[in-house]
């Protein structure tokens, strides 16, 4: 599969502060890629570097396996940090300017304004827009020319709940059409709902990179309960594969050591005469996994 973006060993220092530390990431065509991290983790710096507005201290990146030429950015629709437009121009004029920069011959500006839900305010000056309207205009700008890649930094910032739902639907629709999406967010729920792949970064270092589903499946644990908790306790005490047990309201959440499967645990419990009333592989949620990754790094 074609590599859309490859980041190789990028570091960025702001005087003594290390914002990025040899970060390497690969993103393939069709990925909906989430950059996840707490505030100050280096997400925006990463996007700034790949969009040519921040100079890396070291390392390289390459778009479409073709390098860093500015012309390549014309194939990308990007919205970083906040919407940046000319306040004295109206919405339509601002998008016309973007279309000119991107050398788009037929930009279909009205269609994009319609899609972003801002068409009715196209003739109003940008300076009169509300925060949500500015965000919608920025989103419309990213869609101009039907880019091969969307790069979005906190795309739902400043939007009301309806706007958030609209943008999520839109991202999923665009991704469904095969467009690659790279999205930085600290909203875990958003990333979990929208992204296929995720990289977790903290203090400029990558802690995890892979599929969202793999991350969630990795460490959810197994929920077990029984009418006879005493028997369950005894059985778990002698099962070699138990790594961790959490007990809450008669439900045990068990994490197994690596190499052990949930089927082995269920067979062991049955063999040892435990009456199981509930047995389920629990899917993790991104928030829990995210916090786990951050706490592992701290340790």
């Amino acid at each position: 599969m074609q590599k859309i973006l490859s980041i190789s060993g990028i570091s960025k220092n702001y005087r003594s502060v290390k914002a990025l530390d040899k970060l390497s990431i690969n993103i393939h065509k069709g990925d909906v890629y989430g950059l996840l991290g707490p505030n100050g983790s280096g997400k925006t710096t990463t996007l700034g570097i790949i969009m040519g507005v921040t100079n890396p201290s070291s390392g390289t990146y390459s778009w479409f396996e073709s390098g860093t030429n500015f012309q390549l950015r014309k194939r990308i629709g990007a919205m970083l940090d906040k919407p940046n437009f000319y306040p004295h121009l109206n919405g339509f004029q601002n998008l016309k300017l973007v279309a000119d920069i991107k050398d788009i011959k037929s930009p279909n500006i009205h269609e994009k304004l319609e899609v972003a839900g801002i068409a009715k305010s196209a003739n109003r000056k940008f300076m009169t827009y509300s925060t949500g309207m500015k965000q919608r205009l920025a989103f419309a700008a990213t869609l101009l020319g039907d880019p091969e890649v969307l790069v979005l930094d906190e795309p739902t910032n400043g939007l009301d709940p309806e706007g958030i739902a609209d943008v999520r639907d839109l991202i999923q629709r665009i991704a469904g059409d095969g467009t690659t999406v790279i999205m930085a967010s600290h909203l875990l729920d958003e990333v979990q709902k929208v992204c296929s792949h995720v990289a977790v970064i903290k203090m400029g270092k990558k802690l995890y990179e892979g599929q969202v589903q793999s991350l969630l499946a990795e460490d959810g644990g197994i929920e077990v309960s029984s009418d006879n908790l005493g028997k369950l306790d005894k059985a778990l005490a002698i099962f070699d594969g138990v790594d961790q047990v959490k007990k809450q309201s008669g439900i045990y959440t068990i994490k197994l050591k690596s190499g052990f499967k949930s089927s082995e645990l269920s067979a062991f419990l049955i063999t040892n005469g435990v009456d199981i009333t509930h047995f389920a592989n629990k899917k993790g949620n991104l928030e829990q996994e995210f916090l786990n990754l951050l706490s592992q790094e701290r340790d």
Binding site: M51, T54, L80, H88, L89, I101, K102
Partner: protein
């Protein structure tokens, strides 16, 4: 240029300053004699001369005189360049332009394009005003007299262009409109004159602002028989172009190295 045109065409600040510059030059032309007299007294104080009786508006003298006077008003157009560049940083639109696919070099070229367009506009205006003033004099003139000293108009164009590129450099370096305008004025009217006093005169005339201003030198002393250059100095022209190139290169260096 198309992109810069779109940015400026609906900007009220741009049009206010362009019209103001045009109006000021036209007003200056309409009151040329009294203005020259005032400037004469203010700048060099040659009190014995009544400029109204001299051929200041006749070809070819009109070219040197009007370009000299119009040079005072270049600051108005420099404000357009400074506000345009600084606003791009205030509203992060320079950053967005690069994100959208403009190269840093293209972005800078668009601003230099604006500087060229403003210089051209003012030069054409001064040329038009010069023709009107020259032909309004009831004197028969030869074509050689009309067109003979147009090198002052060319020098006026270079003077404006280099000054605007200098303003562009300040705006890129400081990124704040007020600060850039203050430094532009302070350096021109305070710092460089102070610096001038402490260095030999042959070096003094090659300081940036002196070089720019000396392209069209104070012309009126020639009417009392003093030695006044009535040609554009090629050496000054070369120095001015060198300064313009230096400021443009420094601007590129600053803009290219900076995180936006």
């Amino acid at each position: 240029m198309k992109i810069e045109y779109r940015k400026q065409i609906t900007s009220s600040g741009f049009w206010i300053l362009v019209v103001l510059h045009g109006v000021v030059i036209c007003l200056a032309a309409m009151n040329f004699n009294s203005l020259l007299q005032n400037v004469n007294v203010m700048m060099n104080n040659v009190p014995d001369i009544d400029l109204a009786l001299r051929p200041v508006l006749q070809f070819p003298d009109v070219w040197q005189n009007i370009t000299y006077i119009s040079g005072f008003f270049k600051i108005i157009l420099a404000l357009i360049l400074i506000t345009s560049v600084c606003n791009e940083f205030t509203y992060s639109t320079a950053r967005q332009n690069i994100i959208d696919g403009l190269s840093r070099r293209e972005w800078l070229y668009s601003k230099i394009g604006l500087a060229i367009a403003l210089s051209l506009f003012s030069t054409l205006l001064v040329l038009s005003v010069g023709f009107v003033l020259g032909f309004s004099q009831e004197v028969t003139v030869e074509p050689t007299a009309i067109f003979g000293r147009l090198d002052f108009v060319l020098a006026y164009f270079i003077e404006l262009l280099v000054y605007f590129i200098y303003a562009l450099f300040l705006a890129l370096a400081l990124k704040r409109t007020g600060l850039s305008i203050i430094l532009l004025l302070v350096y021109d009217f305070i710092l460089e004159p102070i610096f001038s006093w402490s260095i030999p005169e042959y070096v003094n005339e090659f300081l940036p602002m002196n070089t720019i201003d000396n392209l069209n030198q104070f012309p009126f002393t020639k009417y009392v028989g003093n030695e006044t250059p009535s040609v554009v100095s090629i050496e000054q022209l070369i120095w001015a172009v060198a300064y313009g190139t230096l400021f443009a290169v420094l601007s590129y260096f600053i803009f290219n190295k900076r995180d936006l």
